[in-house]
Amino acid sequence: MSLPSFLLLVAGGFIAGTFGTLLGIGGGLFLIPFLVLVVGTPMHQAVATSIVAVIATSSTGASINLQRGTVNIRFGMLLEIATVLGAIAGGLTANLLSGALLTKMFSAIMLIAALFMVQRVRVKHDDRLLATGGPFPGNYTDEATGELVRYTVTRIPGTMFVSLLAGNLSGLLGIGGGVFKVPAMHLLSGVPIKAAAATSNFMIGVTAAASAFIYFSHGHLNPAIASSATLGVLGGSIAGTQISKRIHSIALVWVFVALLFVVSIQMYLK
């Protein structure tokens, strides 16, 4: 691999990681279009690369969230049964489908993710309406207010079903699936949004690892592309975490949502 190719992959990964972290959806939704549309990587290789990058960013994020005490480990472990089963099925299915079909499916998921982002901006989360009396009690100290937030989890089957679908999308298309799991945990199971995001992130690495080996076994993992992009995404996610502390502009989210729409159309036309 030439030096310009290496720098292009690291830079693309960095931008994907930064955007993904700023939007709270991980880097995969931006990394795959970059690899397919800019670098010209075959779709299966792009998905394999994204899955590995997702493991790196999820592990880093989970490490920080565990220290903050915002992860509901038991609830996460329970949901991992569903996400891992979904991811294995997704990984096996993806290797039976053509790259062109996967690309079209990815463009559709990008559109849905953009709509979820719009919804997330429009709906104001109210953690005062937390559920009580259910299993998996959790608590954490909100760093912004210093308050101790206590909650329990309700309507678990519904969230498990969404997790199964999210895991399936992860294995099939190389995305983390947090964009679907976080709203499900919050709206269905009553988990506060910060705990939902941290628990989702905690699960994503295991979910991605479930299908990563399937892609590896089919020879879809190009070491140079995957290593360069993963290191770039990792750097971008660290930068994104720092930037997100300073930027709280809703306008920025709208710009990214518009970007997701445009790239989704380009992926469909590819």
Binding site: M1, L3, F6, P42, Q45, V52, I55, A56, S59, T60, A62, S63, I64, L66, Q67, G69, V71, I73, R74, M77, L78, E80, I81, V84, L85, I88, G91, G205, V206, A208, A209, A210, S211, A212, F213, I214, F216, S217, H218, G219, H220, L221, N222, P223, A224, A226, S227, S228, T230, L231, L234
Partner: protein
């Protein structure tokens, strides 16, 4: 060790070390590749997981991935992919220490699902 905070710190450390080790290996591979004049590998020559592990097991580290650079990157990628396995094993050990048998069962099931697909991927 009975404090849940300590367990969370342990898991956090394992994840951080996993990412650091794999990143170092991948970066070393890229560095070696930049010092070599030959191409790392072409997309149609990527070894499968089974081939890579068999070559590594037979002691051909420098050429297991096609070249030393590719091998370093593959081992880095493999370490990264195995980091979540370690996290699940740690969680399993924690639940066992807490004698929470229901969650020992859940963590064991997750680990077996992960291990099962690795075995499937090898053959």
């Amino acid at each position: 060790m009975a404090d849940p905070k300590q367990y969370e710190q342990l898991m956090s450390r394992i994840l951080r070390i996993g990412v650091m080790v794999s990143s170092l290996l991948m970066a070393s591979g890229l560095l070696v590749a930049s010092l070599q004049t030959t191409s790392v590998t072409t997309p149609d020559r990527n070894p499968t997981l089974g081939e890579l592990i068999r070559r590594l097991a037979s002691g051909h580290f420098a050429t297991a991935g096609g070249s030393l650079a590719a091998t370093l990157m593959f081992v880095g990628l493999l370490s990264l992919m195995l980091t979540p396995f370690l996290r699940v094993l740690t969680t399993l050990a924690i639940f066992r220490a807490e004698k929470d048998w229901r969650f020992v069962g859940i963590a064991t099931l997750v680990f077996l699902l992960l291990a099962g697909q690795v075995v499937y991927s090898l053959y």
